[in-house]
C-alpha cells in the first residue's frame, strides 16, 4: 500500500514539485523569520557578553524606571573613591558614554541609520576594556586625540595621523586619530560608530563633567564577586547600585530581545498569511489530484481496497510532499532571512551580519507547520475519494462528493457575517464581549473568516465574472477566447479557490494601500494645519538628535524669527513606555498650532504637563489633576495637568512639557539633544536668504536636515511609503505563492484535458492558439482574484481607517491609481503564470494526447 502511494508520488514529479513549492515557501517564511530574529538576538547577546568581558562588577545609578535607550543617568565622580576603598577591589575605573558624531573627509557626519553614534572614554587599564582592543596606534592621551572604530576608519579612509572633526553634545572640534579600535572579532559595535577619548576630555565634551556613566570593577584574585559586590553596595550612597557584570550583560541583551519580540511577531503574521495562502493551494491541488485519480482509486476499491486504505494512500502522498517541502523550506529559510536583513537595511535598519542561527525550535515549528498543513489539506479530498462508489467512478463523470451549492452559500454567508462582525467589533465596539479574545485576536479571526467566506461564496460569481472578463477576449480572439472562458467556468469551485489564494494576498496589499494613503493624507492635512513654521530642522534616521547649539545659533541670526526646539523623552506610563515632548513654550504658538483648549502655553513654561484632549477625556481628568510619570533620571513624579491640546500630529506626542521641566527630568546622556527645530523667517526677511541662513547653519551639524513645509510633508509621506514598501514586500511572498497556485491548477487542468487539447490540435488548432487559450484562462482567474482581493481589502482598509479616526488618521483616502495598478498586476500575474503550462500544453504530442487514458 505504502509502496503504491510512493510510486504515484514519484511518477508525477512535476506535480510533486509544484505542490511542494507552495508549502516550501510558507515554511521558508516561518523559518526565515526565526532564523533572522534568532541571529540578531545571538549577535547582540554575544555583543553584550563581549562588552563586559573580563569585568566583574558595574556600579551605576539605580533607576526605578527603565524606558528608552538612554541607560541610567550619570553618577557623581566621588563615588569612585568609595568603591576603590572597598577591600577586595583590584581595579576600579569610572567611564562616561554619550553620543559623538565623526565627520568624514567631505565634512559629512557619519551617521548609520539605526545604530547609534557613540562617544565614550577609554579605560587606562586594558583589563577593563571588555573585548575592545587596539588594532593599531595607541590610546588617546591628550584632549586633542581620539581613537575610532576600525569599521568607520576603513570605510571612510581614515588612518592613524588623520585629523577628524567630531561633534558632541557640547562642542564640535577636531582631533587627531591616534588609535584604531576593534571589538573582539568585529570592526565595530553592532554597526555603531565609536569615538574614544581620554577620560577627562570625554567628560568635558560629552557634557558629563565631574560625573561617570558607570564605574567598572575587577575583584582581586580569589575574592568572591558576590562578597565584594555586597561590600561595595553597602558603601554606596543612595541612588547608586552595584550589579555583577554578567547580570548586566544578560539584562541588556534580554531587553533587546524583548524589543525584537515585536519584530518577530510582526514577521510571523506575514509568514502565517503565506502559510494560509499555501493551504488554499495545497488543498486545491489535492482535490484535483484525487479527482484525476478517481478511476484509479475506484479500481483499487473494486479489487478490494478498503475506503481507509484509499484515504491512507492519499495521506501518505501528502506526508511525503509535506516532508520534502518542509526540509526544502528550512533550507530556503536562510535565503528569506538574508532577504529580510537586506530589506531592513533598505528601510534604514543596518543590522550586523554574522553567521545565521538555526535553533531547534525553528526546525520543529517549520517541519510541523509544513507537514500538518499538507496532511490537513489532503485529508478532506482523501475522505471524499474513499466514499466514491467503485462502479460509478469507473464511468467518466465527476461524482466527487461535495457540498451542495445551497449549503455552501449558507455556510459562506454565516462565515462572512461572523467575520465582518468580528472585525467591526474588534475595531469599534463593545457590543459583544469576546471573553478571552482581545481586540486584535477578534480582528485576526474575523479576517480569516472573511477570507474563507469569500472563497466559498466566490464560486457563485465565477461564471458571470468570467463571462464579463472574457468578453473582450472573445471579441479579440474568437474561438480561443471562448474556449478559455468556458474552461474557466467549467469547475467554478476550482477556479474560485485558485483565485481566492490570490485574493488573500492582494486584499492585504489593498488594505495597506488604503491605510497608508489615509495616514499620508491625514499627516499632510495636519501638517498643513498645524505647522506654522517656515522651516523644520530634523534628524534623519531613528537615533539621537542634534546639539542645542544649532538652535541657539539660529536664534542669533537677523533673518530668523521664532525658533522652537522640540526634545524627545521616554517615560514610564503605568508600566508601559510612553513619550513626552519638551518644547520652548515662549515661541511654540508662533511655530506650531497646538489647538490649546484649556490652559496656556505660558503656564506650561512654569511647569506641569499638557495632555492631548482625547486622552484627557478618556481618563476623566480635570485641570489640576496629576499624571504619575516615571522618569529614568528622577523617578516617579506626579505632574500637574496645566492644559489640554488637540493637535498631536505635528508635535508627535500626546504629552507636552516645558523645556525647563524636560531638562530637569532628562538630565544627561542624549536626552539633551534637540529632536526637531521649528524655525520661522524673521518678519520682513527675504524667504530665500532666510532659507540660506538655516541651510548654512544646519550644515555644520551632523544629520540635521532642513525642510520647508512642502518638503517636510513629503518627507513624512516618504516614511509611510517606505513602510508600505516593506509590508508589501513581505506580502509579495504570499502573492507569489498564489501565482504558483495558478500555475499548479492550470498545469493539472491541462493534464486533465490532455485529450481535449490533442483533439483541438488534430483539427488544426495551432500551438500558438493553444497557448493563447491557456493564457486567457489564467488571466481570467487572476483578475477575478485581484478584484475580489480589492473588494475585501477596501472593506478592511475603510473600517480600520474609520476606527483610527481618533488616533489622528481622520482622512480616508483611497488610492485609485494603485488599486487599478493591482488589477493590471493581476492580469500580468495571470500572464506569467500561464507561460509554463501553456508551453506544456502546446507541446503535447497530438497522438499521445488522443490515445491518452
Amino acid at each position: 500500500m505504502i509502496r503504491t502511494a510512493l510510486k504515484t508520488v514519484f511518477a508525477h514529479k512535476l506535480r510533486l514539485a509544484l505542490t511542494a513549492l507552495s508549502v516550501m515557501m510558507g515554511v521558508a517564511f516561518i523559518a526565515g523569520t526565526f532564523i533572522f530574529t534568532d541571529t540578531i538576538n545571538d549577535t547582540f547577546g554575544q555583543l553584550f557578553d563581549d562588552i563586559y568581558e573580563g569585568q566583574d562588577i558595574i556600579v551605576q545609578a539605580s533607576t526605578e524606571f527603565d524606558v528608552g535607550f538612554s541607560g541610567p543617568p550619570p553618577i557623581d565622580e566621588e563615588v569612585l573613591d568609595l568603591v576603590v576603598a572597598v577591600p577586595g577591589v583590584e581595579v576600579a575605573e569610572g567611564g562616561v558614554q554619550s553620543s559623538a558624531t565623526i565627520f568624514d573627509k567631505d565634512d559629512e557626519g557619519i551617521i548609520p541609520t539605526g545604530p547609534p553614534t557613540l562617544g565614550a572614554s577609554l579605560t587606562d587599564d586594558l583589563r577593563l576594556a571588555g573585548n575592545a582592543g587596539l588594532r593599531e596606534g595607541r590610546v588617546p592621551e591628550t584632549g586633542s586625540e581620539v581613537a575610532i572604530d576600525a569599521a568607520t576608519a576603513d570605510s571612510n579612509d581614515l588612518v592613524v595621523g588623520d585629523v577628524v572633526k567630531i561633534e558632541t553634545p557640547v562642542v564640535t572640534d577636531t582631533y587627531e586619530i591616534v588609535g584604531i579600535i576593534r571589538f573582539g572579532d568585529s570592526d565595530n559595535l553592532a554597526g555603531a560608530t565609536f569615538a574614544g577619548f581620554e577620560l577627562e576630555t570625554a567628560q568635558q565634551v560629552l557634557d558629563l563633567e565631574g560625573q561617570y556613566s558607570a564605574i567598572t570593577v575587577i575583584v582581586e584574585d580569589g575574592a568572591s564577586v558576590d562578597v565584594v559586590r555586597n561590600s561595595i553596595a553597602v558603601a554606596l550612597p543612595e541612588g547608586v547600585e552595584a550589579v555583577s557584570a554578567a547580570d548586566e550583560a544578560a539584562e541588556q541583551s534580554e531587553a533587546l530581545s524583548e524589543s525584537l519580540g515585536f519584530l518577530q511577531n510582526a514577521l510571523l503574521i506575514f509568514a502565517l498569511v503565506a502559510v494560509f495562502v499555501a493551504t488554499f493551494i495545497i488543498q486545491n491541488t489535492f482535490r484535483i489530484i484525487v479527482r484525476q485519480r478517481q478511476k484509479e482509486l475506484a479500481l483499487m476499491r473494486a479489487v478490494g481496497a478498503t475506503g481507509s486504505q484509499v484515504v491512507w494512500m492519499v495521506v501518505i502522498e501528502a506526508l511525503v510532499v509535506g516532508l520534502v517541502a518542509s526540509i526544502l523550506g528550512l533550507a530556503f529559510g536562510f535565503v528569506i532571512a538574508g532577504l529580510l536583513t537586506a530589506g531592513m537595511s533598505a528601510v534604514g535598519f543596518d543590522l550586523p551580519s554574522t553567521a545565521a542561527t538555526l535553533a531547534p525550535r525553528t526546525i520543529i515549528v517549520g517541519m510541523a507547520v509544513g507537514v500538518v498543513v499538507t496532511i490537513a489539506s489532503a485529508v478532506l479530498p482523501a475522505i471524499r475519494a474513499s466514499r466514491i462508489p467503485p462502479v460509478a467512478a469507473l464511468q467518466d463523470v465527476d461524482i466527487t462528493l461535495r457540498m451542495s451549492d445551497r449549503r455552501r452559500t449558507t455556510i459562506g454567508v454565516v462565515l462572512l457575517v461572523l467575520g465582518m462582525g468580528g472585525i467591526l467589533n474588534g475595531l469599534f465596539g463593545d457590543v459583544v464581549d469576546f471573553g478571552p479574545l482581545d481586540e486584535l485576536t477578534a480582528i485576526g479571526v474575523g479576517a480569516i473568516l472573511v477570507f474563507l467566506a469569500v472563497s466559498m461564496l466566490s464560486s457563485l460569481v465565477v461564471k458571470p465574472a468570467a463571462r464579463f472578463l472574457g468578453w473582450p477576449m472573445i471579441k479579440l480572439d474568437n474561438m480561443t477566447g471562448n474556449l478559455a472562458v468556458e474552461n474557466s467556468v467549467r469547475k467554478p469551485r476550482r477556479t474560485a479557490t485558485t483565485a481566492s489564494a490570490l485574493m488573500i494576498g492582494l486584499a492585504l496589499v489593498t488594505f495597506f494601500f488604503v491605510l497608508g494613503d489615509s495616514i499620508k493624507s491625514s499627516a499632510s492635512a495636519s501638517i498643513e494645519e498645524g505647522l506654522r513654521a517656515d522651516y523644520v530642522v530634523s534628524i534623519d534616521g531613528f537615533s539621537g538628535g542634534f546639539s542645542p547649539a544649532l538652535g541657539d545659533e539660529l536664534r542669533e541670526q537677523p533673518e530668523i524669527g521664532a525658533v522652537t526646539s522640540l526634545r524627545f523623552g521616554f517615560w514610564d506610563n503605568d508600566g508601559s513606555e510612553d513619550f513626552v515632548m519638551g518644547l520652548d513654550t515662549d515661541t511654540v504658538d508662533e511655530t506650531i498650532f497646538l489647538g490649546v483648549v484649556q490652559g496656556s502655553t505660558e503656564a506650561l513654561g512654569e511647569g506641569g504637563v499638557f495632555v492631548q484632549e482625547d486622552i484627557f477625556n478618556d481618563n476623566d481628568w480635570v485641570l489640576g489633576d496629576t499624571v504619575p510619570m516615571g522618569f529614568v533620571a528622577t523617578g516617579l513624579q506626579h505632574v500637574e495637568i496645566v492644559g489640554v491640546f488637540t493637535e498631536a500630529n505635528v508635535v508627535q506626542a500626546n504629552y507636552l512639557v516645558g523645556m525647563d521641566f524636560h531638562e530637569a527630568n532628562f538630565a544627561g546622556y542624549g536626552a539633551d539633544l534637540d529632536f526637531v527645530l521649528a524655525v520661522n523667517a524673521a518678519d520682513g526677511a527675504d524667504a530665500d536668504s532666510a532659507r540660506a541662513v538655516v541651510d548654512a547653519t544646519a550644515s555644520e551639524y551632523a544629520g540635521a536636515t532642513v525642510r520647508d513645509q512642502v518638503e517636510y510633508r513629503e518627507s513624512q509621506e516618504n516614511q509611510v511609503n517606505q513602510i508600505l514598501v516593506l509590508f508589501n514586500g513581505l506580502l509579495f511572498l504570499a502573492v507569489i505563492i498564489a501565482v504558483i497556485g495558478i500555475v499548479n491548477t492550470l498545469a493539472l487542468s491541462i493534464f486533465e484535458r490532455t485529450r481535449e487539447i490533442g483533439l483541438l490540435r488534430a483539427v488544426g488548432t495551432s500551438r500558438w492558439q493553444i497557448r493563447r487559450m491557456i493564457t486567457w484562462e489564467a488571466m481570467i482567474v487572476a483578475i477575478i482574484g485581484a478584484v475580489l482581493g480589492i473588494v475585501v481589502g477596501l472593506f478592511f482598509g475603510v473600517s480600520v481607517t474609520a476606527a483610527l479616526a481618533s488616533q489622528g488618521i481622520d482622512v480616508l483616502s483611497i488610492p485609485l491609481g494603485q488599486i487599478i495598478g493591482l488589477v493590471i498586476f493581476g492580469a500580468i500575474a495571470g500572464l506569467l503564470a500561464a507561460i509554463l503550462p501553456a508551453r506544456r500544453a502546446s507541446k503535447l504530442n497530438i497522438l499521445e494526447a488522443i490515445s491518452y487514458h
Binding site: 474556449l483 481535449e756 488534430a762 488544426g764 497522438l847 488522443i850
Partner: protein, 249 residues
C-alpha cells in the same frame, strides 16, 4: 515513378515505402512495414485487418498526426516530412478531416460549435447551405445547442463526422466511425459518407472491423502485420467476409 506522377492529379494521399517502428531492440514493433499505398481522390477506401495489424498507425501517419520511421507521405502534392510544425497544422486544418475512434468532441462547446470548430479556429466563414445539409442528413438539426455530455454516443459520433465533412477537406480519415453505433445509425452515417463521395467528390479513408461497413466503400485494403496483403474493389459484405476468412479471423 513515372506512373505515379502520371496519376498524381487524382491522388489525394499517398504513402510511399512507409514504415513505422515503435520501441527498439527486444521491444521493437514494426507497426507498418514498408507500405506503399495511394488513396485516389473522390474514392471511398476502407482499411481492414486484425487487431494490432497497424490500421490506426497507417491512418495517423497518412494524416500527418504521426511521423513515419521511414518512407514518405503525401497529401495531394505535398510531402509531409518536409513541413514545419506550423505548416503541418495549417495543412491539417485546411485539407484533412478526422473522425476518431472515441473522444471526438470538446466538452465545453455545443454540437454546433463542435461541428464548426475547424472554421472557428481558422477564423473562416462556413458555407451555410452545406452546413444545413450535412447536419440535416445526419439528423442533428434539433441537437445543435446541446453539449456533448447531453448527446448519446451515436449522436456524438455523428457530430464528429459532421465536423469532418462540413469543412470539405480534401481527405477525411475515419477510425471506426461506426464502432459505437447501432446498425440503423451506422447505416445512416455510412450512407451519408458514401453520398459525400459520390455526389460531392469527397475522399474518405475509413478503418473498420465491420464487413457491412466495408461494403459501403469503393475499395478495401487488407492489412496484416504492418503489410498490405490484399485489396478488393467494389466489395460486398460477402466478398469481404470471404476474404477475411483467409486470415483465419
Amino acid at each position: 515513378m513515372t506512373t505515379m506522377q502520371a496519376i498524381s492529379g487524382t491522388t489525394a494521399a499517398r504513402l510511399d515505402g512507409g514504415s513505422k517502428i515503435y520501441g527498439a531492440g527486444d521491444t521493437e514493433v514494426r507497426a507498418l512495414d514498408n507500405v506503399t499505398v495511394e488513396f485516389e481522390a473522390g474514392r471511398y477506401t476502407a482499411i481492414m485487418g486484425p487487431s494490432g495489424s497497424g490500421k490506426s498507425t497507417l491512418l495517423h501517419c497518412t494524416a500527418g498526426l504521426d511521423d513515419l520511421s521511414d518512407g514518405r507521405v503525401y497529401i495531394g502534392d505535398v510531402e509531409l516530412g518536409s513541413l514545419k510544425e506550423k505548416d503541418l497544422t495549417l495543412l491539417r486544418r485546411e485539407k484533412v478531416g478526422f473522425v476518431f475512434q472515441a473522444f471526438n468532441l470538446i466538452p465545453t462547446l455545443n454540437a454546433r460549435e463542435n461541428v464548426l470548430l475547424p472554421m472557428l479556429i481558422a477564423g473562416e466563414d462556413h458555407d451555410d447551405a452545406w452546413f444545413e445539409q450535412v447536419v440535416g442528413i445526419l439528423g442533428l438539426g434539433d441537437r445543435l445547442s446541446h453539449r456533448p455530455s447531453e448527446l448519446s454516443g451515436g449522436q456524438q459520433q455523428r457530430v464528429a463526422a459532421a465536423r469532418a465533412l462540413v469543412s470539405r477537406p480534401e481527405i477525411i480519415f475515419a477510425d471506426e466511425p461506426s464502432g459505437n453505433l447501432d446498425s440503423k445509425s451506422a447505416a445512416e452515417l455510412l450512407d451519408f459518407m458514401r453520398r459525400a463521395v459520390k455526389e460531392f467528390g469527397q475522399t474518405i479513408v475509413m478503418v473498420t472491423h465491420d464487413p457491412v461497413a466495408a461494403s459501403y466503400a469503393d475499395r478495401v485494403v487488407f492489412l496484416e502485420d504492418g503489410k498490405i496483403v490484399d485489396e478488393l474493389h467494389n466489395p460486398t459484405t460477402d466478398s469481404v467476409i470471404d476474404r477475411m476468412r483467409q486470415f483465419g479471423a
